[in-house]
């Protein structure tokens, strides 16, 4: 392991440790007498009328799919940006082509109304 990652490891351990400690502490000190009103979900005083597990609108899925495509694009942007200084203009042209091809997809999605919330 590269040495400079030990800080990350300490961070992970401390982060998890604090959360676990807090949960354990509250588990030990809390009084337990649950009754019906107490265990209900708090919704600003409104009586609850439905489970919180509802079906979400299907339209979210197409946004998710488009997001994944552009997420993959972003992955290629990072090494390009790091190497950009040593590559110069040619790399810029390549990336413009890369993004333009993907922009066609975005325009397509736009024209097809996939981005519209009906």
């Amino acid at each position: 392991m590269p040495a400079d990652y030990s800080a990350v490891l300490v961070f992970i351990i401390a982060g998890t440790g604090i959360v676990v400690f807090t949960f354990l502490l509250s588990w030990f000190v809390q009084p337990r007498n649950p009754y019906k009103v107490k265990t209900e979900t708090y919704e600003c005083g409104e009586p609850i009328f439905e489970q919180s597990w509802t079906q979400f609108n299907n339209r979210f899925y197409i946004f998710g799919l488009i997001f994944v495509i552009f997420d993959v694009e972003a992955v290629f942007l990072f090494p390009w940006a790091v190497a950009f200084k040593s590559l110069g203009l040619f790399a810029l042209v390549e990336m413009v082509i890369f993004i333009t091809i993907l922009l066609v997809g975005l325009v397509y999605a736009w024209k097809k109304g996939a981005l519209k919330w009906v």
Binding site: M1, P2, Y5, V8, L9, Q51, S52, W53, T54, Q55, F56, N57, N58, R59, F60, Y61, I62, G64, L65, I66, F67, V68, I69, D71, V72, E73, A74, V75, F76, F78, P79, W80, A81, V82, A83, F84, S86, L87, F90, A91, E94, I97, F98, I99, I101, L102, V104, G105, L106, Y108, A109, K112, A114
Partner: protein, 163 residues
């Protein structure tokens, strides 16, 4: 030290992997899968493949797993209900998994890995970026065409399903 961290990560990966297939609520399974994939990113860091680790987090944790959670939340019959997640073939499946694991173990044990003399690059993403922009220009541009095809295909399929 490195070995201990590896064992810690390996233990978390296996434990969360088992949790993915044994938990009752399919939503919790998806969360466990995210945990598992995240720890795999930790393994990549251990192997000094930082760029791969970031890609793992960005794509698998950030995109693929989120898409799975989307799919669960968008399916009316799945979210929050007790779904039949396992069938009668637990033992057959477990046996096959064991055989597979032993096979992998045997194969790894029997292979002699030649240590490479190549020095691990400190500047991971810089090297990848340079190669992408010089030697692998064509594959790089083809990727964008591939992504375009995937995007258009996804829109066509999703719209047809919607209507």
């Amino acid at each position: 030290m490195e070995a201990y961290v590896f064992y810690l990560f390996a233990f978390i990966i296996i434990a969360s992997g088992i949790a993915v297939v044994t938990m009752r609520n399919i939503f919790h399974c998806a969360l466990m899968l995210i945990f598992c994939l995240f720890t795999v990113a930790g393994l990549y860091v251990l192997l000094s493949a930082e760029f791969l680790a970031v890609v793992q987090v960005l794509l698998y944790v950030g995109a693929v797993a989120i898409l799975m959670i989307f799919a669960i939340m968008l399916t009316s019959r799945l979210a929050g209900r007790e779904v039949q997640l396992s069938n009668e073939q637990t033992f057959v499946g477990g046996f096959l998994a064991l055989v597979f694991a032993l096979g992998i173990f045997y194969a790894v044990n029997a292979t002699y890995f030649v240590p490479s003399d190549a020095v691990l690059g400190r500047e991971n993403s810089l090297a990848i970026g340079k190669l992408l922009m010089t030697e692998f220009v064509l594959p790089f541009e083809v990727i964008s065409v591939l992504l375009l095809a995937a995007l258009i295909g996804a829109i066509i399929i999703a719209r047809r399903e919607g209507n």
